[in-house]
Amino acid sequence: MPTAEDRLTRRIALILVALAIPLASRVGGSGRFAWTMFSQTSRYRIRIEAEGRDGVRRIISPSALASAVSPSVRFAFAGAEAWRQASAAESVLAPRVPEIAQLSCRVLDARSVIVRFDRQADLDAPITSSTVEERCAP
């Protein structure tokens, strides 16, 4: 016969994996751990504006950062000046705009960069943006 402790452990495990983790992910996070099963339509785009050493401002494609990022992350930057649908990349990169700005400084040899990250939770959701301006080291 199952012991009371054994039953309790398994009930707690079931509540965690079947309810608590998916619910917390859905309500408070990106929904990544909520078994969305191919239904996510969240998307993002990245706009990078760099001021060169010559003082000229240019719009740079995020693909330009590809040489400095890991091979498995390149897809997240390639063509990201237009809307990209990649929910994991969107939720992971969104809070890391300052890091993307620092990376842009290193790669673009710029005086300063402005990185804007736009995201949309689904096709009917409003677009939210976060912008970071970074003064690059000389």
Partner: protein, 263 residues
Amino acid sequence: VRPDARGLGAARIAFATVFLLRTTVLSGSGTLLGWPEPGWHPVIGPHLPDPIVIALCLLRTGCAILFLVGVRARIAGAMAGICGYLVLAQNPVTYLQSTHLLYQGAILFAFTDAGARFAVRPDRPGASDGLFLARGWLASIYAWAGIAKLRADWLDGRALELLHHDGALRGWLADLVTATATSRAIAACGIAGCELLLGPLLLWKRTRTVGIALAVALHLGIAVAARAEAFSWAMLALLLVYLPTSREDPALWARRSTSASAG
């Protein structure tokens, strides 16, 4: 060993096979999943040195092999899943639901008697087999998948159109389903309805056969149209936990009793 662990044991073997196919060179990637790479990548938590990430990749693979063959399967499964999550945290952009499913499933099997059947060195059975845990978890996955699709942009078919446009849905089945606005909306509502129904169908013994048939059809459809083979195969492997136990299948119970008496 209680006979109820039969489905759990079969599910463990099938699930561990998908785990190894997805996370090792067998996937065709040339390296173990999550092997360190040069260049910037976001990290969740502390940035682990490359040798530690390599050790975790190797440990994950070794534990997955032990989990498959059934040597200390409980601990091996849990370790494989934990190592998997630690490696994933080093490059979370590569997160896929299939990897989350495999890691969480491997950990969850540690709470069941999955390692007590069809194993080289069977685990000692626990006080209960934990079948309700595995079955409940799988049913919840379908429920959450259905809930996630209760959105206007899914139900009217725009999400399917977008997935098809981006190349996430390909092939004859995807072309057929997304051909018109009406077909997209019908398919989208059908998929959401199917997923919402699957949990109750699988959990209720009388409708279980229908539930399994529907789930198999759904996953084969996803495998063909979305090329999400790892996720589909892992879910199909997990469906084995719904194999009837001896208590649920009196004919099987009678055969076992007869053979036990003869023995």
